[in-house]
Amino acid sequence: MPLDSQQPNSHCYWLTTYSELLCVCSHSHLHWIPFNEDPNPNTHSSGPSTPLKNQTYSFSPSKSYSRQSSSSDTDLSLTPKTGMGSGSAGKEGGPFKALLRQQTQSALEQRGGSPHRFCRNREFPFFTLTAFPPGFLVHVGGVVSARSVKLLDRIHNPAFVGIMGNTRSYKLLDWNSFNSDEPETRDAWWAEIRQEIKSHAKALGCHAVVGYSESTSICEEVCILSASGTAAVLNPRFLQDGTVEGCLEQRLSWQPGFFSIGSEKGEVDFFPQSQDSSSLLGQEENLPAGCGFCHIPYDELNMPFPAHLTYCYSCRKQKVPDVLFTTIDLPTDATVIGKGCLIQARLCRLKKKAQAEANATAISNLLPFMEYEVHTQLMNKLKLKGMNALFGLRIQITVGENMLMGLASATGVYLTALPTPGGIQIAGKTPNDGSYEQHISHMQKKINDTIAKNKELYEINPPEIPEEIIGSPIPEPRQRSRLLRSQSESSDEVIELDLSHGKKDAFVLEIDDTDAMEDVHSLLTDVPPPSGFYSCNTEIMPGINNWTSEIQMFTSVRVSRLSNINLTNQTLNKNFNDLCENLLKSLYFKLRSMIPCCLCHVNFTVSLPEDELIQVTVTAVAITFDKHQAVQTTKTHVEKSLQRASTDNEELLQFPLELCTDSLGPHPFSPAKEHLESASSNSGIPAAQRATSIDYSSFADRCNSWIELIKLKAQTIRRGSIKTTVSVEKASPLTEGHFRQRSAPACANSTVGVVKMTPLSFIPGAKITKYLGIINMFFIRETTSLREEGGVSGFLHAFIAEVFAMVRAHVAALGGNAVVSYIMKQCVFMENPNKNQAQCLINVSGDAVIFVRESELEIMSTQQPIASCQPACGGGEIAT
């Protein structure tokens, strides 16, 4: 999974911050452990069985702390200097809020004003990961994002700061000033944005942000800083023992005892709902799989924005929103109906050329409208596809001299747990005009046809559920009125709440001007991919599980010149829309020989290198799949995806130890949990001592729980280091032998070994046996004979081909045979045809790996049936 934390200004310390974050936030239930104070192991030796654990399950954050709509406001107004939380201390009730405040305050006392310290004490973990182990995500709140317009040459002076988020509420901040020198100022900018992201997440009742990414768009002196992520509630069990730093340590020294040490602090838990969470998990596991994350994390009586809630269509116990937007990949345990598809919203807005602050102001003024329109487009297109959730949402706003471009890409799916989306209704403004009416009804018919067609195309046929069971989706009149906050603390007595207006079918598009007309037209001009083709911008396509091994990664670049002198927003929009649509069509055409196939991880990047030039760069991978196996029941879908999840985890693991889990089946978490508990109950005994008195009968299980932990942490800090695996390899020589066996034929094949490249974190039909390290390469090329090299296209074509070749050669030199998580981070192209010159800068990165085909692996494992127990024995040897 791509970790896009490498934006120029976004060097941040969060990989190192987790550890302290966990310590800092490790308030346990009703008593607070101050920062740096050693948690007393004895207090927690009883495991999660605190009095609260046994209370009946009813998950509602509002019970312990009332969510306050003002939180985001207060947080927003904070600059890094004042620190978070302090501004609103004591205003709201609830013991937990108080605890949180106490915690942050004590943290603030510790930090002594240094921005670095401040960052270390965050209470909200930011995960740039987009895929997680099953059960990790408890709830997903929705997309949170923040943008800020900055002037780069005004770093030493007061600059205009406009911050706004798109959690359906827009806010503008005051002028802010910084007097620090440049890097610190930029750090402060990002800190501010992260702060806002946090507050948005908090407003959604979430304590973490996953699928987080930051980006910048710079034109002359103006810079737009953007950050977005998905607010989420994470499963504390995955975070409770050890810390990331500790995990690093343990990888370096490989002490199995560490895990028990880790679980001594097993009770540390920084979640506001921690008293719920343990019981919650117990409950959650009994629920039908794959709907938990859809349930709203926020207080349904005090929602941060108007949303339409219904009872979950899967479990019918919890509330779910009508649509769900996220930046992460579809969780592996989620159940979907049919296939997903790539949904893009495209938007251009002209702006006057301006300088400095005037320019920044103009941009800031445009941004909220752009975000709104992008959002509306996404919503409309989602409805048009008959789907109800977006994954992998990435909104890119690009600033140019005289225009702003917005491109949002996401993968739409139909989540079983969410209600069926209503249609789109067109309403004209002048209903008296007969021909106009006719036109409207004609459009309406077209839209309805398109929806029906799309449902067929993407195989969306949800089962009919009688309304009595799920509760009335159509709100009764009394529920329409917004509830007062005072009511929110009332009780369990659930009052059906609906803040949207009218019934859910009435997603009304009002055609009141030409713009809206154009919008509707553009909705209908989006051509679906040809049959046999699917596309998504997530790692894999929801609803397709039977990938074959043929993959084709590609990069396509297009630069278009806007010929019109008198550009209007409409023509600009149309041009941009055509550019993207044609690009997609070209891709479908080019890859037609791979049908049936899916374009995965479609990643569009828009830049405006010059006044009238639009550059669109697309990188994606086409993966073929087996059509005949594609038709499966939902149940097998789930099983498959679970299996995929577990194999995925194994693939991602840098340790060869994963062989052990093969024997333990696809649900390693249930045994893991028990043994975590047993491990934590043992925690009084020193690690070494315990290691000698190991109960071998449960050893494999314990190993398993360790492995799960390593896996998780290896995923988190996978990019951190490579050298740490050495000791483990020595510990299990068999695996090394294995590896030699496998890699030998791959190298001997032909004169030039094939190196696969993929933006995904895995290779279909193969198992990654070894991670060889990160590849991060910058290339700059210049030509002074552009015409002779076949013009700009010839120049860039050859350059990109050579970049690929250099990456492959690098990987091959490391002994690898594939690059995963490949990403082209930069592709800056400039030309001066008059001088016959062009320059290009490219930055690519990825992970070099060794993979083995699963078919080869099977042969191997039948040859060595004892392989599965080997790592356990190996581990035992080290332990003693």
Binding site: P530, K590, V752, V754, V755, S793, A801
Partner: protein, 357 residues
């Protein structure tokens, strides 16, 4: 809005066979797009003309970049820039080195020089093969020729090794090289009926039997030139027609053996001396370069045309030639049996192959 730059680069280089063929055939991008549109691809795939244009451009650019590698095929295998599966590499090479029958007939036996290259315009108009394609094919011939010209070992083997061609194509190239080196005349009107296949067949036999390589596999130029000693020795065969007794004896042996077996027996009997004289004279004259060049003209004039004018069926020709060459072994006064066989075995097969309308 115009696309200034439009590229697609795959980790595995995409090769579209149809576009490759169009490119090899020397069509311009716009012509190729036109041809593709006419092939009905737009209807099949639902693509637009713009998409097709962009796709064609992309492929053409790729092929252009691949072309310099294709000039030395082993480089294509060892280069790192384009990741192409081996089967596709083979296809690229094979198609690149494939040539048009019409074109090769025009060039076969000509000196592969700049002079000939200038005539490619005419060849292009005459054959209907685009000039670009003609140039590629001509350059291929020339390149192969230059590489294997002075090389030891089997000609076809060398070509296969250095150009990674299929067995069939390597043997065709061997024929082209052999013809070009010996400058056999093939362009005369009389010879127009011969296909490249006929000539390549003859060339292969000559390479097998008439070159120094046929007797010694360690000589330079072993397969490219004709064996000088052998040609010198062929003069000895002259006795077969110069000695009247021997000729009569030879004739009577053949006639006795074939009496009743040939439908054209009387014609054969009447023409025997002429035919025999023709075949033996061809052999004895091969010491002159000029006559070597005219070998195929002579074969047609001296043997094939007389037989054809008497309407010999192919089978009769076969019976006659078999008996004609076999009977020599019964001529006691003739001492060059081995030489005769080396000459006649090849010639017999060549003539049989060439004997058609």
């Amino acid at each position: 809005m115009t696309n200034e730059l439009d590229i697609f680069v795959g980790n595995t280089t995409l090769i579209d066979e149809d576009v490759y063929r169009l490119w090899l055939d020397g069509y311009s991008v716009s012509d190729a797009v036109g041809l593709r549109v006419r092939s009905g691809i737009l209807e099949q795939t639902g693509a637009t003309a713009g998409v097709l244009q962009s796709d064609t451009m992309d492929h053409y650019r790729t092929f252009h970049m691949l072309e310099r590698l294709l000039h030395t095929p082993p480089k294509l295998l060892h280069q790192l820039v384009f990741q192409i599966p081996p089967s596709r590499q083979a296809l690229l090479i094979e198609r690149y080195y494939a040539f048009d029958e019409a074109f090769v007939r025009e060039v076969l036996g000509k000196k592969l020089s700049k002079g000939t290259k200038k005539d490619l315009d005419d060849i292009s108009t005459k054959t209907g093969v685009t000039l670009k394609s003609c140039r590629r094919q001509f350059d291929n011939f020339k390149r192969v020729f230059k590489v294997v010209e002075e090389m030891r070992g089997s000609l076809a083997g060398n070509i296969q090794q250095h150009f990674l061609l299929s067995d069939r194509l390597a043997r065709d190239y061997a024929a082209v090289v052999f013809f070009a080196n010996n400058r056999f005349e093939t362009g005369k009107k009389k010879l127009q009926y011969l296909t490249f296949g006929d000539l390549a067949f003859c060339a292969e036999l000559m390479i097998q039997n008439w070159t120094p390589g046929a007797v010694d596999s360690q000589v330079d130029d072993m397969d490219v030139d004709l064996d000088k000693e052998f040609l010198q020795d062929l003069k000895e065969l002259k006795v077969l027609v110069a000695d009247k007794d021997l000729l009569d004896l030879h004739k009577s042996l053949v006639c006795t053996a074939l009496r009743g077996k040939l439908s054209v027996f009387p014609e054969m009997e009447a023409n025997f001396k002429n035919l025999s004289r023709g075949l033996v004279n061809i052999a004895s004259k091969l010491t002159h370069t000029k006559d070597v060049r005219d070998l195929f003209v002579d074969l047609v004039e001296k043997f094939i045309e007389p037989c054809r004018s008497d309407r010999w069926p192919l089978n009769d020709v076969r019976l006659f030639l078999n008996q004609y060459s076999a009977s020599v072994h019964s001529l006691d006064g003739f001492r060059h049996q081995a030489l005769w066989d080396r000459y006649m075995v090849t010639l017999r097969s060549c003539l049989l192959r060439m004997y058609h309308d």
